[in-house]
Symmetry: C2
Subunit: 223 residues, 2 copies
DNA sequence: GGAGGGTATCAACACCCTGTCGAGCGATTC
DNA sequence: GAATCGCTCGACAGGGTGTTGATACCCTCC
């Protein structure tokens, strides 16, 4: 949860007190965000200039810089929103796998699938921007870290209670599985040419996760 | 194998006939390629201008364009080389898993680990450039397609001969595993903050692959 | 009810990077 | 010795980024 927080520069108070709308406000930010998400549906980040964002929000380029430090900040805000949604939905789930462990894991994976597929534009831009942008990379690293930690913790408890046979180092396995999610969902959302079928992606991820988390107990693995 | 081929524009004959070296030739190309790989060790692709590449190779920017169509072409050439190395080393392996299937898969995965870790600069740039560059994306898609096809074919034969229990759709599982490789190796090679330990990455990948390819026969999976 | 201060806006600028055009230069060929 | 071809670069046009300085707006406080 948490994250480095917002990314906005200016703006103190929303000003508008009554119900009569003013032509400006902090919905400029919203306008920029919406423009960004809309344009990202159409073309990759690299093909979107700050001028496009500004014009889309009805302002000039320098004014854009009043609200955001650059494309970077816009993306960070978009990412934070998506991450928050994942966090909320995960928090609403039972905290541990019960009798039906496969169903529980499936629910968890469903959250990722739902949210990422529900914000295709943001998901798609992630891989592209993370490569270039240190702040975004750090933010994503934090999120991943959190998910990996939770995954590893649950797996260790599953092993301790005898529900899962020991195997790979729990943390490394958890990391690999989360990276798998990231890459597979990116492929789906970007419409890559070898990509899993969208309607089957939850089955696919669940299949891999369960095979790794609850392996055949006699599998030979050297440390 | 194959791929879309080279990416070079000009150059007909190397000209240099005897043993006396001329100041120019087609080793200009090599100089550019070497400069690219060297600079990519230090900083991301976005921070390398064509002028950097040209100067590094001792030529001017317009001259660079005589040899390559842009950064894109340089990257494509670098990628083709790496892919060729993977192809050769895979071809030198036994074509099917024998009695010791885990060892065979481990050898296959070792090729990817070795080659990707041996060309860190190229591996690192892949994720970054694939997002922006259609040609590179297509080329990588082809390569992935090939590996996924081979993986799926072997898995199906393993299932037919009874060595592997049926489970996930073979092709989708193969795709997921190859995407896993890509993402995990990228994390290692880029020194990301949650990244698997480099010395253990082969064990990790092998563990996941084997768990997925040879699952416990009673695992419950709905279609 | 006019002075003052934060809020918000943009034209214009300096800079960097890309890709292209056209002129030039050295060697080879006839 | 002139036509040709491979190779090279200075200089340009175009587009992107980020900043600066002038300005207009609104609120508030005296």
């Amino acid at each position: 949860m948490s994250g480095t927080g917002g990314a906005v520069r200016g703006r103190r108070a929303p000003v508008g007190r009554g119900d009569e709308r003013r032509p400006s406000g902090d919905d400029r930010q919203r306008a920029i965000l919406e423009t960004a998400e809309r344009l990202l549906e159409e073309r990759p980040l690299a093909a979107i200039s700050i001028d496009d964002l500004a014009r889309g929000a009805g302002i000039s380029r320098p004014t854009f810089y009043f609200y955001f430090g650059g494309k970077e900040d816009v993306l960070l805000t978009l990412l934070d929103r998506m991450a928050a949604e994942v966090g909320e939905r995960l928090a609403a789930l039972p905290p541990e796998p019960g009798d039906d462990a496969p169903a529980w894991w499936r629910q968890v994976l469903g959250v990722f699938v739902d949210v990422f597929l529900g914000h295709r534009a943001v998901s798609r831009v992630l891989a592209e921007a993370r490569a270039t942008n240190p702040r975004l990379r750090a933010e994503w690293a934090d999120l991943l870290e959190g998910w990996v930690g939770s995954t590893a913790a649950v797996l260790e408890r599953e092993r301790r209670r005898g529900a899962a046979a020991p195997g790979l180092d729990a943390r490394e396995a958890a990391l690999a599985l989360n990276l798998l999610n990231e890459r597979v969902l990116a492929a789906v959302v970007s419409g890559e040419s070898p990509a899993p079928a969208e309607h089957g992606v939850l089955d696919l991820l669940a299949g891999v996760w369960l095979a790794v988390l609850y392996p055949a107990p006699d599998r030979t693995l050297r440390a």
